[in-house]
Amino acid sequence: MTPEPFAIALFYAIGWAYVRLILTVTGPAIATAAAFPIGIALWGITAALSVMAPFHYSAVLVTAICVLGLAVANWWKGVSVSALEFRFCVGGLVVLLGAASIFILIDVTSITTDTMFVLSVGKQIAEQGGLTPTMKGVLASFALYLALIETAAAALGLEYFRSLLPLCLISTLLLFILFGCRAIGCPETKTRFWSALIPILGATILATTYGFLWHGFYIKASPVYTLFLFIVCGSTYFADRERDARWMFIALPVGLATTLLRMEAPLTTLPMLVVLMAAGNIPRRDRLLFVVPVSAAFAVWYAFLVLKSFAHGLFSVYELTAMGALPSAFAATALILTWIQISRGARWPERVIMAMPWIMCAVLALFSVAYTSLRPETALSSLEALYCYLSEPKFGVVTFWSAVIILLLLAPLVTRRVDGAGIFGANALGYILILLAITVITPWKHCGSGDSGNRILTQIMPVVLFYLVLRYGSRLPSYFPRG
């Protein structure tokens, strides 16, 4: 009997204890689907704080802190458990454990050497009670999230969690459908079947795209980052559309956890922060309450990495410092513009903030073009490698990206503009342009599914597709009567 289901149930319980505080906002279905992702996000953040603290690291202590913190929060702010909440909570747990059991029983995970480094570090953190001086190389080479979460596996005597990443993949697909239904309005219309069909088809596209599916079973942080990115974009969209800032409570833990998920996370998370700051229907204070803590978390975590890994590993001290400071520079700009707006009553700062996603995209596009023209040898060979990955059928993404291009080209003709869809559109565009900028400056890029740039591209797939789901699904034809 493996103890893995116990750990999965614990992550779910932690997440549920958090989401139940805002159950009236999300509804029970989305809360159930979001409980596991939020649980692993909260556990990961607490583990990162513990590893930074000057005391002996223990997975048991991390769990105890999470449980205690959420118990206090529920005692202070929580409401009594309703029968509906109980049914959803138990139902979600049964489904989760059922899926976990399948993945534990039939081990479908795949590993590479990079996986081994990450798992080994997790095991050592658990055994040696924290980071040791000889971990310098890995601290500046690989994101630590997976190593931290796998300390829980080590504490339970497991090599690693076999079901954790496949469950993240399933959570992404499930949230894709639930977010899609809510955005298109499945429960309110008489055309429930037709409006549910679009997100279900979208999720099926993702589930059958081999390049996407494979990453769900590859022991790296890719599926977690994909999931968290999608949750933040979805929460921003609903907070903006429903003018309810409480959605940001869903976005905050997963947003904070993205700091630990990729070494380039400060770059790839930047569009998320910029777009959220420009979401005008969310009160300014609430936007800042997300952007400032997440940016500060990046700054603190990267400062910690620089100190702990000084001059070791793949990323230099300068690169780590610059990346860690970038979100803070944006947050500082947003704060200054807000201060000018409040103190002088000027309108232009808000206009600048609203235009920031497009300014960011323009700057990134210009950078890629300028760099390619200045250093064509490096840039063109990297772009060729990217094209090779996208166009080779054996990597299993060519149909997905072809369909995206076709749907994007047809969208202006056969769909109308949809309020808020730009949140997904700008996030996806900014992310892809950042990837292009990283690609042109990366001389070692290669054509393969294991290449980190190609993995980064896989992570944005749900966001890109959800934009298209919103465009194509939000206005049903008039001959489908609405309720």
């Binding site: 596209i205 059958t208 109308r416």
Partner: protein, 187 residues
């Protein structure tokens, strides 16, 4: 009463019809993608197998494979041996590079507790090298060293110092107590 002209009204209707067709366009494209994805699934999945060595207990398989014992597999077997034999030991090395298995990855991945780099005489005589080779050991070809010999400690040795020494183009990783007296490093 509509203020729009009949022409603009019919144009709006045409546009509206076009917009309404979006649902069917999406369903058609999605169905095509899903069909193509599923029909190509088996062919694609085979090409991924080299990246995924085994579906089922991947980690155990990966570590235990005989074929992973040489440099072409990034010396994973060496890391495995270190984890099995030297977890919790302190590594002493005569330069920084020697404490690494490759340019980017530290020795520590095998479970070494801590590493210290400082100057000492690491050169063994031929007789001393042969003496170490008579002990239980593993030898692997590693691009940056030439050859790496990991001398395996007896089970009764408790974690202490493990020292990197060399003879010609062979690097030895040896428990301090197995070295000649003159090579035992005073910190």
């Amino acid at each position: 009463v509509s203020l729009q002209s009949p022409t603009s009204n019919s144009r709006t209707q045409i546009r509206s019809r076009f917009h309404a067709s979006g649902l069917f366009v999406f369903i058609f494209v999605a169905a095509a993608v899903i069909f193509l994805n599923i029909s190509n699934f088996t062919a694609i999945s085979k090409s991924f197998l080299p990246l995924a060595p085994h579906y089922g207990q991947a980690l155990q398989y990966f570590l235990g494979q005989e074929q992973n014992r040489d440099a072409s597999d990034r010396n994973w077997y060496a890391y495995y041996l270190i984890e099995q034999n030297y977890s919790g030991w302190t590594l002493l090395a005569f330069n920084r590079e020697i404490a690494f298995f490759s340019d980017m990855y530290a020795f520590n991945f095998g479970g070494i507790k801590t590493g210290k780099v400082f100057s000492y005489d690491p050169d063994l005589t031929a007789a001393e090298a042969n003496g170490l080779l008579s002990r239980r050991h593993w030898r692997g070809e590693i691009k940056r060293y030439g050859s790496l010999v990991i001398v395996l400690p007896e089970s009764d040795l408790s974690p202490a110092h493990v020292i990197m020494v060399r003879h010609e183009k062979t690097i030895f990783m040896v428990p301090e107590t197995y070295l000649p007296e003159r090579m035992r490093v005073a910190e």
